[in-house]
């Protein structure tokens, strides 16, 4: 909806005129700068604190000033967009599902597809838990509530297996303590992203772990645009991001720690890809569409 900006058209037009030096016309309803928030997508924590290269690259790509905010809570991200305090979000699948439910007109810009992004259930090698079905009656360490690969994803897998997540298993949302609790054998099973598994194996070479189940590849992380932005700006951003995908990806990788994206690519994103996520929320009994 660009309609509501019609009132201040005159003022913005003047402003745009003075700035308009290199770009094409028809931008009078574009904001001065884009407010961009990264909601702390799992595995991209490093971007939270070293975002300058990415920010600069994005500014170049889109050709606008960008105000970058690293936000560490997913609820804040979606609420900020709901109340038009942010224009573009980099969100994980779980967050996207939330945002879409509170801001139905929100637009997808592009997805980042990353290598090996799925949930896994892990047990100690010497335990007698071999399949997902064996998990019943045991305790499972997961990440924080709402985490895609560490809560929503694995929960869906359990539900698909016919396990009642409230009754049949003891799910503990332990966040960072999940590894230690698992290593300590306070919990028998750890459900988390597959990358975490690899890291854990690396760190504790001498201990044996067994993957008892792996989930389907999870949907991509996405750039989401606020419906308050003019349509042509959204379209423009969508195009330029996909055009400059390699440079953008490099700017994320340059920080050195985001190896999760090493094999990643930028792709087009569509809303249907996230139906599985919504489905999972629903199965978890969390109503996403109430607002």
């Amino acid at each position: 909806g660009g309609e509501q900006e019609g009132d201040d058209q005159e003022a913005t037009a003047q402003q745009a005129e003075s700035e308009e030096t290199e770009e094409e016309g028809d931008r009078e309803d574009w904001p001065d700068e884009i407010r961009f928030a990264d909601t702390g997508v799992e595995g991209m924590e490093e971007l939270q604190r070293q975002f300058e290269p990415f920010q600069e690259e994005l500014e170049e790509t889109i050709g606008m000033d960008i105000e970058f905010f690293a936000v560490t809570d997913r609820t804040i991200g979606s609420t900020a967009m709901e109340y038009d305090q942010v224009d573009v979000l980099l969100a994980g699948p779980s967050e996207y599902a939330q945002i879409k439910s509170v801001v139905p007109d929100t637009e997808l810009l592009a997805g980042i597809e990353r290598d090996e992004y799925h949930a896994a259930f892990i047990a100690h090698e010497d335990s007698d838990i071999g399949t997902l079905a064996d998990v019943e009656g045991h305790s499972i360490a997961m990440k924080d509530p709402g985490s895609t690969s560490g809560h929503v994803g694995p929960s869906e897998m359990l539900i698909d297996e016919g396990i009642d997540v409230d009754e049949d298993v003891d799910i503990q949302l332990l966040d960072d303590a999940r590894f230690d609790a698992f290593l300590n054998r306070d919990v028998e099973v750890l459900a988390t992203g597959i990358k975490d598994y690899h890291e854990m194996v690396e760190e504790h070479e001498d201990e044996g772990f067994r993957i008892i189940a792996e989930g389907e590849t999870l949907p991509n992380d996405v750039f989401v645009a606020s419906p308050e932005l003019p349509d042509d700006l959204i379209e423009n951003m969508r195009e330029s991001i996909l055009e400059n995908d390699e440079a953008l990806l490099d700017s994320i990788l340059v920080t050195g720690e985001n190896d999760k994206y090493v094999e990643g690519t930028f792709t087009e994103a569509s809303d249907e890809d996230y139906d599985s996520m919504r489905n999972a929320y629903e199965e978890l009994g969390l109503d996403l569409s109430e607002e």
Partner: protein, 260 residues
């Protein structure tokens, strides 16, 4: 002639000017605008009103979680308070056996406070496993960091007269502590301790980290899932408990405040 109107000491000047500069710089970086604030206030009310009425569906679950949290918080703070007292006595300038011990104790208290809950939780999960026990230990550490500091501050502020009076009887240090420092400090100690209980309840998210559940986890799940009406219910529940604890505090303190 009035001697007190002398120039402040260099340290004072440095602290004052340094603080001021930092404050002004900070203020400048803040992009404060009343405009921004007021234009958003409608949104804010929209949000807050959106959470009404509180969702009572999961009230019972919340109540049970609250009860669990309260128990653990109580046990953790009780232990914490009992450990804080001797540490605070070691740390306070006017009761420490030796200045060096005082500095060490103060530093220790600061350290306990500085280490984040998450790390305490990790440490205790590693050492004693999951459950209420590590949660209690974490709360205990928090409490020592908090009460240790405030107890010691109160002890240093105490009027010297009654303490000297007990000292003048030739009492040993135990007598001085129990005979004057504790009685004089009781109102404040009670207030601080009950605040610590309350703080432990409010900060009970840490219990989630060690798998002990409780109201903190419930609340944070409700928030993450954007069930603000449910969150509101829990906040109100916590508020009720907080106010009850505060009333107890007022009641007990009243009994000890001179002439109250």
């Amino acid at each position: 002639m009035p001697k007190r109107f002398k120039l402040p000491s260099p340290a004072t000047i440095i602290i004052t000017i340094g603080g001021l500069i930092l404050f002004i710089l900070g203020l400048g970086s803040m992009e404060i605008s009343a405009d921004r604030f007021f234009s958003g206030i409608v949104n804010m009310f929209h949000f807050i009103i959106g959470a009404f009425p509180p969702d009572l569906e999961r009230f019972q679950t919340a109540l049970v979680a609250m009860y669990e949290t309260f128990q653990i918080a109580l046990v953790g703070t009780v232990f914490g308070v009992f450990l804080s007292l001797p540490i605070a006595l070691l740390a306070s300038r006017n009761t420490t056996p030796h200045p060096v011990i005082g500095y060490v104790a103060k530093g220790f208290i600061s350290l306990l406070r500085t280490v984040p809950d998450l790390i305490w939780a990790l440490i205790f999960v590693i050492s004693v496993g999951l459950g209420p026990f590590p949660g209690m230990l974490t709360i205990m550490m928090d409490t020592i960091g908090f009460c240790g500091r405030f107890f010691s501050e109160r002890i240093e502020e105490m009027e010297k007269g009654p303490i000297e009076a007990v000292q003048s009887t030739g009492s040993n240090q135990t007598g001085v502590i129990f005979g004057s420092i504790l009685p004089l400090g009781v109102p404040s100690f009670v207030g601080t301790s009950l605040f610590a209980v309350e703080k432990a309840i409010r900060g009970a998210v840490v219990l989630g980290l060690v798998g002990a559940g409780g109201i903190g986890v419930e609340l944070s799940v409700a928030m993450t899932m954007r069930q603000f009406d449910e969150a509101l219910m829990m906040i109100l529940l916590i508020l009720v408990v907080v106010i009850i604890v505060e009333q107890c505090s007022t009641y007990i303190r009243k009994k000890f405040i001179a002439n109250a």
